[in-house]
């Protein structure tokens, strides 16, 4: 990751005569880059920690010696020259020295013509080096099936090592030897094919020369089909979005990116289907929609409920909202827009990317995309999307689309932000940072200084707190959720650890902007403080429960992870299924409980949602349909697309998919609807629309009870069962 600036103030300096202002801690390289001044480099990559080994980025700061811009922090009043005669002469000498040992043309230059060293040398006017070639060859290593190693082309820039360590966390590559025999090594200098290398290709992609190249043996390819075209690297480089993407990489991954033509009306991808590709629209427009949320009908039982139910069917969506729907809700999907709940349809245009979560994290497609006109789109696999997202041009365009189309909706989606003025929203839209995290990467650690507020754009974030003996998961957050306010409003210290569960991108609002916002909008502050207080209280309660768990043997069965268990006293239960019938009656004929499960002495723990402390079911929902309110119950919203991920994730089998009849547009006859069967996930919601769970209320034998397992089992162990 590039060096991040602190928020301790701005520094003014001059670069090539241009007065610039950057946050303190910024490197000269980054300061020049953000102001459009390019400094050549060989060892520096934006997403890696700078090390300053190649010295190609040297600049004149007026000091005794030239400084490597990638590691030199700016200072107030600094005068930097990036292209003085002295600097240019130093660079040319460096390039000439490097070229002297470089087997020109190397494999990369031969293949795709974009060896960075040879390109820079040519641009600097380096011809045939004056210095003799090295006589001691470091050799080649062709032991890997996927990657060819030419040690002689290696310039020891260290990019591959940092790529392997920092980006992929595989820690296979390192340096070995001294002086002229220094080289890169795999593990303890094993041949690459015998090492623990997993052939992810990050080293190859990071390498600026032909030292690490793809052997083209292991090929990935999307199934082609008609109207699909594989393009060469040269053809792809003609498109602006591929500017700067390694030609070697594109050439050797031809099968991983295809140009497709979709005719008007053709479905590009369908909601609920599993996939592994993302789409980038080049031409044409596409409609993105979720097919038919079931209804806004609030399922209720009882004589009063019948009339309410009838009224709910007859009135429009806007007139019949649940209590918590005080604001307009949106359905988060895997595209640069979100869908309005009342009308879940939107349009995608050229430059839009969709399917990112499916591609990176293999989640099911979150919506159906249909071509509104003839659409030309790129379909790409994860390795290509990964590289594209590291490419500045492509990334900038995606970010711009997001800022323009969805960011405001996300910001307004935070209930307290609804009151922000349009000018402040515009300010936030420009000043927020979009930051990506790899799976497992810690976004903020418990105890660290709080300096930012985060809004989740894609992926899932785990919020956990440490206690002696382990870690307690407090929540899982997905697109549209936010975190970081407790630390900023409280003592300035993070109270929990926030970890990326998969490929996560967050909207990061700096602490300064956050403080400015709460000062300028007192209502926003009050709202955030209220939420923070609620979260703190809920977290404290959970932590207290963890500390007072008395029964270790139930931990292995997962019972103590539950906050609410449905238990049946088998000595009273006559197996009449009144509980099951009542549950079905309260939920449109589909029962949410099964009268089977774990047994402890004379009690049966029925298969029904346990309202777990660590709700694994929530991880991965592509449309954020499964969520928890501020109390216990886990609910599944109407717009569930029936992908089944939550059902698979639940370790207790408490979520099931059921078919529901609904009406949907008939694609064969425009403007007409037809009855379809749609799968939806169902789970016990504790009958929150009624005072008491229906199963408990309807049991004629006093056998069914919803209990807090901690209290119930602890009481039972000490003095007998107390349901």
């Amino acid at each position: 990751m590039s060096t991040s600036a602190t928020n301790a103030g701005l520094v003014e300096l001059t670069i090539d005569g241009k007065l610039v202002q950057v946050p303190s801690g910024t490197t000269v390289y980054d300061a020049a880059r953000v102001h459009g001044i390019a400094i050549p480099t060989l060892c520096h990559l934006q997403n890696q920690t700078p090390v300053g080994v190649c010295r190609l980025c040297v600049v004149d700061t007026g000091a005794r010696v030239l400084s490597a811009a990638c590691v030199r922090p700016v200072e107030p009043g600094m005068k930097v020259s990036t292209n003085s005669e002295k600097v240019l002469a130093a660079r040319k000498m460096l390039l000439e020295l490097l070229m002297a040992d470089h087997p020109s043309p190397c494999a990369r230059q031969e293949h795709s013509g974009d060896c960075e060293l040879e390109t820079l040398a040519k641009a600097a006017g380096v011809g045939t080096p004056r210095f003799p070639r090295r006589t001691v060859l470091r050799g080649a290593d062709n032991s890997s099936l996927a990657i060819a190693v030419d040690h002689d082309a290696c310039i020891l820039c260290d990019r591959c090592i940092r790529g392997c360590d920092e980006i992929k966390s595989n820690f296979v590559l390192g340096r070995m030897g001294k002086g002229y025999s220094t080289g890169i090594a795999f593990d303890l200098n094993s041949p690459m094919g015998d090492s623990t290398c997993i052939s992810c290709g990050e080293c190859m992609v990071s390498c600026p020369t032909g030292a690490l190249t793809n052997k083209g043996v292991v090929g990935t390819a999307i199934a082609a089909g008609r109207d699909a075209q594989s393009l060469t690297a040269e053809e792809l480089h003609k498109l602006p979005v591929f500017a700067g993407v390694s030609g070697t990489f594109l050439e050797l991954n031809r099968g991983a990116i295809l140009k497709r033509l979709y005719r008007k009306g053709e479905v590009i991808c369908r909601e609920g289907e599993f996939g592994s590709t993302a789409f980038y629209i080049l031409e044409g427009k596409a409609q993105v929609a979720i097919a038919t949320p079931i209804a806004h009908v609030k399922t209720q039982g009882g004589a009063q409920g019948f009339f309410k139910q009838l009224a709910s069917v007859l009135v429009g969506r806007e007139q019949d909202k649940r209590e918590e729907e005080a604001r307009d809700r949106t359905i988060p999907i895997d595209a640069s827009v979100d869908l309005s709940y009342g009308n879940p349809v939107a349009e995608l245009a050229p430059g839009d990317l969709f399917g990112e979560m499916t591609c990176m994290n293999f989640y099911p497609r979150s919506a159906t995309v249909r071509a509104e006109s003839d659409v030309v789109a790129f379909e790409m696999l994860r390795n290509v999307l990964d590289i594209m997202m590291k490419n500045k041009t492509f990334r900038a365009q995606i970010e711009q689309n997001y800022r323009r189309r969805a960011l405001e909706t996300h910001l307004r989606g935070v209930p307290m932000f609804a009151e922000l003025s349009p000018d402040f929203i515009e300010h936030l839209k420009e000043s927020v940072e979009l930051v990506r995290y790899a799976p497992g990467q810690v976004i903020a650690r418990q105890g660290d200084a709080a300096d930012s507020f985060y809004l989740v754009r894609i992926g899932f974030v785990k919020i956990s707190e440490e206690y002696p003996g382990g870690e307690l998961v407090l929540a899982y957050l997905s697109r549209g959720d936010y975190f970081g306010e407790i630390g900023l409003l409280g003592g300035g210290v993070r109270t929990a650890t926030c970890t990326a569960l998969d490929h996560v991108e967050v909207v990061k609002i700096s602490g300064d902007d956050f403080r400015q916002m709460v000062e300028r909008f007192p209502n926003v502050r009050a709202g955030l403080e209220a939420v923070a207080a609620e979260r703190r209280a809920a977290n404290a309660q959970r932590m207290q429960m963890v500390h007072s768990v008395p029964i270790e043997q139930f931990l292995a069965q997962g019972l103590m992870e539950a906050q609410s268990l449905l238990i049946l006293d088998l000595q009273k239960c006559t197996r009449c299924d009144a509980c099951v019938n009542a549950c079905a009656d309260a939920h449109d004929g589909v029962t949410r409980l099964v009268r089977e499960g774990l047994r402890f002495e004379n009690f049966l723990v029925a298969t029904s949602c346990r309202q777990c402390r660590d709700p694994l079911c929530m991880v991965g929902c592509p449309v954020g349909a499964i969520r928890r309110r501020n109390s216990l119950e886990v609910i599944i919203e109407d717009w569930c697309i029936g992908c089944g991920l939550c059902a698979q994730n639940c370790p207790y089998g408490n979520i099931n998919l059921h078919p529901f009849e609904t009406m949907a547009e008939d694609p064969a006859h425009a403007g007409r609807c037809k009855a379809v069967v749609q799968q939806k996930a169902t789970s016990c919601d504790l009958c929150t629309h009624l005072k008491e769970p229906s199963c408990v209320y309807a049991c004629p034998h006093d056998a069914a009870h919803r209990v807090d397992p901690r209290k119930f089992f602890a009481g039972m162990m000490s003095s007998g069962p107390k349901p």
Partner: protein, 326 residues
């Protein structure tokens, strides 16, 4: 439902009403010039109250049809059904002065007696049978699923035997396994029990910690596997397919134990684990059989109680009309 201390309040109320009404009846019967009659004021009062209790008791069926309607907890309705239903008998006897009367009233009295008796019988069953089922059937499953579980046990046994003895023509090798998203799983009791825990089609990951790792199964030759093959084809598979058939020794726990003990001596060491598995499958099949029988006892009496009670209400209404009009 268990008749326990929580029903004390209802019991006292019932006893109180009985004693009061009994006292009133005695006074009335002693002082009535022509003896106690259903048509007298007090007789009518007893009749009306008794019939009202019967109607309330009958409404339990209707209450169960709308389980989520907030009309009072189902438990309260059930207790009312039990105690007030019981009370209706002495009240109607007081109403009729312990005379059965004409044809209609005689039929009504017998209906009432049988209905109350069947209800008492059912209450006793519902008090004891759940406890028996809990104790005797630790591997209980949902009643409607017994057929499926039995089929799964049969398939598991087929696999176990064929893995040891070679193909017997039962297992289809290329059958793809289907995985359902979610769905319930039958889990083992986690408290210590006398039933040895084992892996079967009915066990989920929740009990995996209690199951020992299975040793490798070696294929026996024809001579070695003959006793097991014969036993399986002639006895065990039939038992798993038709457990209710008469004369099957595997249906009796002690006889099954002896049968497996004898087999154990005839088979080599390599077959012992499979034999243990088969024994456990038989045990589970016996438990399912036991569950079926207990379930029938638990609910079978309703086949008498419900129709008779409906007839009682209908004919009672006829009696009311006839008695008041004529």
């Amino acid at each position: 439902m268990r008749i326990d201390a929580t029903q004390r309040g209802w019991a006292w109320l019932t006893l109180g009403i009985f004693l009061v009404s009994g006292g009133v009846y005695v006074l009335y019967a002693v002082n009535a010039p022509a003896g106690p009659r259903g048509g007298s004021v007090i007789g009518l009062a007893f009749g009306i109250v008794g019939f009202a209790f019967m109607i309330f008791a009958a409404l339990l069926g209707a209450r169960k049809r709308v389980p989520t309607w907030r009309l009072g907890r189902a438990q309260a309705w059930m207790r009312g059904h039990l105690w007030l239903g019981l009370l209706s008998l002495p009240l109607i006897l007081f109403h009729g002065g312990f005379h059965f009367g004409g044809t209609l009233t005689r039929v009504l009295m017998w209906l009432l007696l049988i209905t109350v008796a069947s209800g008492l019988f059912g209450a006793v069953l519902q008090h004891y049978v759940p406890r028996m089922m809990t104790a005797d059937v630790p591997l209980e499953t949902i009643y409607d699923e017994i057929g499926n579980v039995r089929r799964s046990l049969r398939e598991e046994a087929d696999h176990a035997v064929e893995a040891l003895c070679g193909s017997l023509g039962f297992v289809k090798r290329d059958t793809a396994e289907e995985l359902r998203a979610g769905g319930f799983t039958a889990l083992r009791p986690i408290a210590a029990s006398s039933v040895p825990l084992r892996t079967s089609a009915a066990v989920s990951a929740g009990a995996s910690a209690a199951v020992a790792a299975a040793p490798e199964v070696v294929l026996l030759n024809a001579e070695q596997s003959a006793p097991l093959t014969r036993f399986y084809l002639q006895e065990m598979r039939l038992f798993l397919e038709e457990p209710l058939r008469r004369g099957q020794r595997l249906g009796d726990a002690e006889k099954a134990k002896s049968a497996f003990a004898a087999l154990r001596t005839l088979l080599p060491a390599a077959a012992q684990y499979t034999l243990l598995e088969l024994e456990e499958i038989c045990d589970e099949a016996r438990q399912l059989l036991r569950q079926e029988r207990l379930q029938r006892w638990l609910h079978g009496w309703l086949l008498v109680h419900i129709p008779l009670s409906l007839a009682l209400i209908l004919l009672g209404a006829v009696h009311v009309v006839m008695a008041l009009r004529y």
